[in-house]
Symmetry: C2
Subunit: 97 residues, 2 copies
């Protein structure tokens, strides 16, 4: 059982830290052309639900992983909405630099 | 308890379906410049571990959600590796169109 918990923590750490290079890439390039807005929005919503599921089940790996993932995904969603600087890709006219 | 299961299924369905518009966007534009390779790779690895965790815990929402997510993430990772057509963004020289 303890081994299963470790598996959960490993999964949580990897899928959580995975969003770090993605967030860093977006912060660095300030480009979100190839990121789907629907993906970013739905992921935030879904991760909130996973968090509630973890709380209900009192499952610490799920709670910990999804809390951190939510923070990083909120940053990515913010950037996606903020950096609409490529009209051709985002389908909007914007002249911000 | 049944209500918690529904919460898990809702979370699983949303975070799973979230990858569908992302995968479609990549298939359609054939652009993966703003997608982090490290994110795509780590997500695939992490989701495999979540799947194993779900199997160990006999947790059907986790098993179902992560199985489908894995398929979509494998497609995204494949495209990220395949469509390295933007030298400026991907840091590689390629002349494919």
């Amino acid at each position: 059982m303890l081994q299963t918990e470790y598996l959960g923590y490993a999964a949580g750490i990897i899928t959580t830290l995975a969003f770090l290079p993605q967030a860093i890439r977006i912060f660095r390039t300030r480009q979100t052309r190839d990121i789907s807005l629907l993906w970013a929005f739905a992921m935030n919503l879904g991760i909130i639900l996973w968090l509630l599921y973890g709380i209900e089940k009192n499952d610490l790996p799920i709670i910990t992983a999804n809390s951190i993932t939510l923070v990083l995904l909120l940053c990515i969603l913010y950037c996606k909405v903020r950096y609409k600087q490529n009209p051709a890709e985002d389908g909007k006219s914007a002249e911000k630099t």
